[in-house]
């Protein structure tokens, strides 16, 4: 790959112990540790998917193609100049908002929700773009403020965050809305949101549970919550997924039933086994040991992400890297917790493992940004 002169950045002299390799990675804007962890997760994910799909080669091939595209996107994004990203963030954000409004007006529906815009051949899901745009925009906003944020800053940032969240909620896509809001709120938190606001809002949420339950929530939403508390009550309906996934996980035991030998998953008892519930397949076949292995990889990835954020040299980069990393954690936590019956069932895929097209590309885009941040920080110092 021949790089144009604009993208070449010089190494600081203090980094000698990384040697020439470090220099090469630096020039390619690739973080080798992050890449290694990602590759490990990707390979592991493909194996689990192969099992979860009932050993469907075509499905694994499809996933492989998505990953290939996503890795390319990641490498390209990693070359971006973060200051440029920061400057362009309002356009990205405003463009995303317009698209979300278009979805509501002219969107394409599926399963009772309007989430796509049809662009002839391709269907485009603007909420995916917002997963990037919201943290970037919020981080960019705070990078212009004196931190920790003042009350007006918080109000403005909340508007920035809640506007797309509300639009996505209207699609309706509660899960994505919550996750996008979370990615923004993480930025606010990292920016130094005063503790009194944090505890104050937690207290408010606590107080508002009762009126929410009685006045706001719809019956099907209450049903979801009740199902979570007692899945057995609705064995064949909403509780089925949870019962079957818990059975899959629990029956896996410490060592698991062996790869491709999970009865729950291979005999179709587990619904959505290759998408949202894929970890149950892995837990059944590879046991607690497999779960620990996967969680370790995720933890390593998060640790690396936070390290990148920690060592980056400007506010925008720090906040964005922190948000990307912690949002990734939220995805992991919500999915793994949901499959184990700890959290309500919201459609959140397991990052880098579940079958997915655009979601993988989005995820790898954010890792591209992380790599750009990781390799850019030295220039600032210089």
């Amino acid at each position: 790959m021949k790089l144009s002169q604009d993208f070449v950045r010089r190494l600081p002299d203090s980094r000698h112990h990384f040697g020439r390799q470090q220099g090469l990675w630096q020039r390619l804007h690739i973080d080798p540790i992050l890449l290694l962890i990602l590759l490990a997760l990707t390979c592991f994910g493909l194996v689990v998917l192969y099992s979860a799909s009932g050993q469907s080669e075509s499905m694994v091939k499809r996933q492989f193609v998505f990953f290939s595209i996503a890795y390319c996107v990641m490498f390209v994004v990693a070359q971006l100049d973060m200051q440029m990203v920061r400057r362009w963030s309002p356009w990205l954000y405003v463009g995303g908002i317009i698209l979300l409004m278009l979805v509501i007006l002219v969107g394409v529906g599926a399963k009772g929700a309007q989430r796509w815009i049809s662009l002839g051949v391709v269907r485009f899901q603007p909420s995916e773009a917002m997963k990037i745009a919201v943290p970037v925009m919020t981080a960019a906003y705070f990078s212009t403020r004196s931190l920790p944020p003042k009350f007006t800053d918080i109000v403005v940032s909340m508007i920035i965050i809640m506007l797309p969240a509300v639009l996505i909620f209207m699609q309706p896509d509660l899960g994505t809305a919550i996750l996008i809001a979370a990615s923004g709120i993480i930025v606010v938190f990292m920016a130094g949101l005063p503790w009194r606001y944090i505890f104050g809002s937690l207290a408010m949420v606590g107080i508002s549970i009762w009126p929410m339950w009685h006045w706001v929530m719809k019956d099907y939403q209450k049903q979801r919550v009740l199902t979570l508390l007692d899945p057995e009550a609705d064995r064949l309906g909403a509780g089925w997924n949870i019962i079957q996934s818990k059975t899959a996980i629990g029956s896996g035991g410490l060592h698991g039933k062996g790869l491709f030998n999970g009865t729950q998953s291979q005999l179709d008892f587990l619904p959505e086994s290759h998408t949202d519930f894929i970890i149950a397949v892995m837990a059944e076949e590879l046991g607690l040991i497999g779960v620990i292995f996967l969680l370790s990889l995720y933890l390593l990835l998060i640790a690396r992400g936070l390290h990148i954020a920690w060592t980056s040299q400007n506010t925008f980069n720090r906040l964005l890297a922190g948000s990307i990393t912690l949002t990734f954690f939220v995805y992991v936590f919500v999915n793994i917790g949901m499959v184990a019956g700890m959290l309500p069932v919201v459609g959140v895929p397991l990052p880098l493992v579940s079958l997915g097209g655009t979601s993988i590309v989005t995820l790898m885009t954010s890792f591209g940004l992380l790599m750009a941040i990781a390799t850019e920080k030295k220039k600032v110092v210089a």
């Binding site: 212009t144 004196s146 920790p148 969680l295 933890l299 917790g337």
Partner: protein, 623 residues
């Protein structure tokens, strides 16, 4: 684009921001680690602490025990002809647990094949009964080839629908053996609730049960032992493989004494009439033929008879469902006379020289009532026991009964099995009635009158017998006192059934000879009431005709068939055995409203015997 306040950037406290961020990042990382710990704890609990619970649940999920019904034992006649067979039929069943919308699936099925409202009702009724989860509940039986293919084509949109091949009972001889072989039917709710746990297990996978006849009596032998199969299924209930298999044990086959040829002759002879023929092997007590006419097709009942068919059978005046051979209780009429004659001889109230004058009636002292003889004007002077049997003289028996008394007559008749069930190996037998002094006082609250003895001596009054009892009585006379329990089954599986002597009746040998010879006279002497059936006969046959009143005739009235409805005509009876020298077969025949035993019932006996001896000759001729 310039931010409002971009200029502030210059005044930012970078160190403070970095410090705040560092603290927040550290807190975040600690939270991440803590929350990973929570996840791990959750998975540890599921996978280690509660592993057993979920492992069991997972097995239960996929492994189903499916019962394999045993093949029901077959039933053969004496010649090895199949009377009850198992034939494969195709049944459409639905597993409600595997349908997402049962009603919709049923509607869909009804569009493809014929599903009547009744099929549907029965299905829903069965669905509500006690059953295992994931057990297929039958909806339609006896699918045609076309129906099967129509279902197969649409299989993908018929959730939980199964087509099962199963063996269904079939009765190839149709109505011929309806009353003896009986039939199986679907297990009903009452039967199901009467099962204990072990029985319930035995019937899992079996849908039918013996309802009447041999099918009912030998139910537990015919049924066999259920087998089982542990099958792995997926969430959609598709069977993927068999993990364990226990063979079912087929039920035992029944081999009967009944012979289709003899049975057919009896049925042909009774064609268009109501009545019964029972033929017994004198040596073994085996029932060679047992016919109750009219009969019905037992195949109608196997998968549940239609309401229309059942009503037709149930409401028919001819009572086709009624097994006359064991349930019909008729006055035996004069057929009882040979037995009573023996009793009189043995009791010493008559001997070979005893004779009476018969003016055509008998009168008791201090009683104005005339006990009439069937023959107007009587049988004349010097009527002895032999003549009284040959010509069926009532007056002789009136006199003998008067002298003998009920206390002597009753125990003697008892020994021949009158008034008691024969314990034939099919259910629902009725006992008949052989009156005694004690019985009359207990049931009627009246004293025994000498006139009552007179009435029973000619087989009238309160005495009632079933055709089977008469046949047993006849066989007992034929065998000179060996009262055998009658039985239909010769061999159960590979185990022959035992000959069972109920009573060995001790009567002087010359008395047997005397009565046998008198009964031979009924058929073979010119004055015998049944002498017409002896024409062209190639063996010696003993018999006794009888006529039983259906309606009481007042003292001064004459019996006049023309004035009465056909259904009030006298019943015709006949008992007999052959050959006289070495009796092998005994019969009892009743033709309802057949009027005269000698003319209506006697010829049937002759046909049955002719066939029997022809059969023997035929069988002996075989290498």
């Amino acid at each position: 684009m310039m931010w409002a306040g971009e200029q502030l950037h210059q005044f930012k406290d970078h160190h403070r921001e970095a410090r705040v961020f560092a603290v927040r990042a550290a807190i975040s990382f600690l939270m991440v680690v803590a929350l990973f710990g929570v996840l791990l704890a959750r998975y540890y609990r599921l996978q280690v602490t509660d592993h057993e619970v979920y492992a069991t649940r997972s097995d239960r999920n996929r492994i189903h025990v499916r019962p394999i019904p045993p093949n029901r034992g077959l039933i053969y006649d004496a010649q090895g002809q199949l009377l009850a067979d198992n034939r494969p039929t195709f049944t459409l069943s639905v597993v409600s647990e595997r349908t997402s919308n049962l009603e919709q699936t049923l509607d869909h099925l009804a569009n493809l094949i014929e599903v009547s409202e009744r099929d549907r009702e029965n299905f829903l009724k069965r669905l509500r009964q006690r059953r295992r989860p994931f057990e297929a509940v039958p909806l339609r039986y006896r699918l045609t080839e076309e129906e099967i293919s129509r279902i197969a084509v649409n299989e993908f949109e018929l959730e939980g629908v199964e087509i099962e091949a199963q063996l269904t009972r079939a009765y190839p001889k149709g109505a011929l053996f309806a009353h003896t072989v009986g039939y199986v039917g679907r297990i009903n709710e009452r039967e199901l609730s009467s099962f204990d746990q072990a029985t319930y297990e035995r019937y899992s996978g079996t849908h039918s049960i013996g309802k009447i006849g041999l099918e009912r009596y030998y139910e537990s032998e015919l049924l066999g032992q259920v087998g089982s199969e542990n099958i792995e299924t997926n969430a959609h209930g598709r069977v993927l493989r068999t993990l364990e298999f226990t063979d079912p044990q087929p039920g035992k086959d029944l081999y009967l004494f009944l012979d289709s040829r003899l049975q057919q002759v009896a049925v042909d002879q009774l064609a268009g009439r109501r009545g019964s023929v029972v033929a017994i092997d004198v040596k073994t007590g085996g029932v060679l033929a047992m016919v109750s006419a009219p009969a019905y097709d037992p195949n109608l009942f196997v998968n549940g008879i239609s309401y229309k068919d059942y009503r037709a059978l149930n409401e028919s005046r001819d009572l086709p469902l009624f097994n006359r051979s064991i349930q019909g209780q008729y006055p035996p009429g004069s057929t009882i006379k040979p037995m009573l004659g023996l009793g009189g001889l043995e009791a010493g109230v008559v001997d070979f020289d005893t004779h009476i004058f018969d003016p055509g009636y008998y009168q008791l002292e201090n009683d104005e009532r005339l006990y009439r003889d069937w023959k107007k004007g009587g049988h004349g002077r010097r009527v002895d026991l032999r003549q009284a049997i040959v010509e069926s003289c009532d007056t002789f028996f009136y006199d003998m009964a008067f002298r003998m008394g009920v206390d002597s007559m009753h125990p003697f008749g008892d020994k021949f099995g009158l008034g008691e069930r024969t314990r034939l190996d099919i259910p629902s037998e009725r006992p008949g009635l052989w009156p005694s002094r004690e019985w009359k006082e207990r049931v009627r609250g009246l004293h025994w009158f000498p006139g009552d003895s007179l009435n029973i001596s000619i087989g009238q009054g309160d005495v009632l017998t079933t055709p089977l009892q008469l046949a047993v009585m006849t066989a007992t006379i034929a065998s000179r006192g060996t009262h055998l329990r009658p039985r239909l089954v010769k061999q159960l599986g590979d185990q022959p059934t035992e000959r069972e002597v109920v009573d060995q009746i001790e009567v002087q040998p010359q008395y047997w000879d005397y009565v046998h010879s008198a009964m031979e006279g009924v058929v073979h002497s010119a004055r015998g009431t049944a002498h017409r059936i002896s024409r062209g006969i190639g063996y010696k046959m003993a018999g006794k005709s009888g006529t039983a009143q259906v309606v009481g005739i007042a003292q001064d009235e004459e019996y006049d068939a023309d004035k009465l409805d056909e259904r009030q005509w006298d019943h015709a009876l006949f008992i007999g055995f052959a050959p006289v020298e070495d009796p092998q077969i005994a019969v009892a025949i009743i033709v309802e409203n057949g009027e005269h035993g000698s003319s209506a019932a006697g010829p049937i006996a002759r046909e049955v015997f002719d066939t029997y001896f022809a059969m023997q000759a035929e069988d002996n001729a075989k290498p």
